[in-house]
Amino acid sequence: MATLEIKDLHVEIDGKEILKGVNLTINTNEIHAIMGPNGTGKSTLASAIMGHPKYEVTSGEIILDGENVLEMEVDERAQAGLFLAMQYPSEIPGVTNADFLRSAINARREEGQEISLMKFIRELDKTMEFLEMPEEMSQRYLNEGFSGGEKKRNEILQMMMIKPTFGILDEIDSGLDIDALKVVSKGINEMRGEGFGCLMITHYQRLLNYITPDHVHVMMQGKVVKSGGAELAQRLEAEGYEWIKAELGIQDTDVVTEEA
């Protein structure tokens, strides 16, 4: 079993504090969902875990199986087993999806131990078929001209090919039509199991109709303010967030500005 621990994490962007002490522990074989109103720091948490250069961790810890993640470069974090499905994946013209994926897979292998081209193609074909992606998408330039739904599918394709220990999904469901949402969920459910832990960030309860979380957390004002099981998400869907504010005596409803 692997564990990702986030301890009292404080994060600033451009001098403004967004995360104000986040605590969270995720094990493999668990799916966690983070919900919360807009601008409460959910995406900031995802970006800080992956090491986005714009986000500055001012205090706290992120520990992956005893290793200090905050001391790692972005690529080292990925190699240690972290994966972030981004809300807005970058477009890289001139680099085909297939070439990029092979580079990503080989990056975590020793020199001389690279995946064979045949094996790679077999696996890629199989995974793309599973995600109902047309074959030609492997030869298109990475995310260039992809629709919103295609980009999200492509993020899941990468996750399934790279097989990380922990997948962090930043609003993987935003802007997806129901067919695409089903496919994306199918991919995530396929990953579910012994060697995989997942942190899903979402605005919408709908995603959780397709992927049943083991734990649900609510973030407000830069902190995890409430945690529970799948039933918490259902109550949020039915009643909104006001009752949590009332319960916890949160007066200030102003939300902090959240950067993508």
């Binding site: 250069p53 990925a78 890289i92 680099v95 580079s103 990503a104 990056a107 990475l142 790279i162």
Partner: protein
Amino acid sequence: MTVETKLALSVEEVRSFSQNNAEPAAFTDFRVNAMEKAAELDLPKPDRTNIKKWNFIDFANHTVESAPFASLEELPEEVKAVVDTEKQENLYIQRNNTPAFVKVSEELKNKGVIFTDIQTAIRDHKDLVEKYFMTTAVKVDEHKLTAYHAALVNGGIFVYVPRNVVIEEPLQVVFLNDNAEASLFNHVLLVAEESSAVTYVETYISTFEEAKGQVNVVTEVIAKDNAQVTFGAVDNLAHGYTAYVNRRGHAQRDAKIDWALGLMTNSDTIYENTTNLIGDNSTSDFKMVTVGSGDQKLNFTTLIRQWGKNSDGQILKHGVMKDKAQSIFNGIGHIMHGGTKANAEQESRVLMLSEGARGDANPILLIDEDDVTAGHAASVGRVDPTQLYYLMSRGISKQEAERLVIHGFLAPVVAQLPIEGVKKQLTEVIERKVR
């Protein structure tokens, strides 16, 4: 204003060079006349690059003697890398100023295709040379460097594709530059008659580091009605030249001239690329990539001038600048009066890899007609940190991520080159230069 310049050869030397090569008297006169003009004419004035102090003129030797290659086995490794010696049916190799190897298939000969060095063409295809050599695409008296070129031409190739002849496989030309003393006054003349089609790919290779000669290349591509020409080139000459490289197209009705140029020469260079879309429905798709390094000064002026109704001109230029390289990317789409429904598009992008490098993209649209469409995009910047973050978040190292972004940025032209060896060579040159 007349600028007196002392040229490297006298008019008499030009005359005897021509006579020693047994050129027709008319061509000797042509050279002599051009040399007289070269003395009087001014240098060209590439926009935003001041070349008044550049020395395009002096050289120690006009021509050098090199040994030809008796067989393909004798080719140096650098040439073998770009030529598929088993498959390539039509091949010309020039070594410095010497035609060193030529192979033309029987099929092309039977169809009347001419694929021969320019010296032979001047002697053996007098009428065609007289008709097209610096008469239609490039004129002798445009400026000092065109005149100097006409007077001193000492190499190059003549390609003539008769009416209705479609050449399926690319013609390949390699200009091997293995003598640092050599000066290349190469002339490429490609004439595609009505409804013909040809793909031509040339490679310039230097095998030494520091040159002591001059480079003054003029290329003329003439596409008659309904002809299709695809022109690929990889220039990879050494440091030390003051190079003038002019590639120009002349497209008649329904004709197409597409360019894919990998401009990797290490010298200060003025690149002038003009395509004249004369006829209705004529099109040109111009693509170039470049990597500037060291203290190179570069000017890439690309102009598509459109007279033809419904003509389409596309310009795409991607450049990577490192070290202290300085570059100007002028892109001009010019729709002339009468060119209704014409479309002119251009995109120039420059990626800077170091503080000391400079790249200016200068897009210009000149429109003298109402009913047209046109657009341009230009950007100069660094490798996007968000792109690097994205790639690195998949476990790819920063160095490899940068490499991927740069290769991707230059891919539009690499993908376009129709000969595998040349494509591979360009990829390797890019790899070496951006490292």
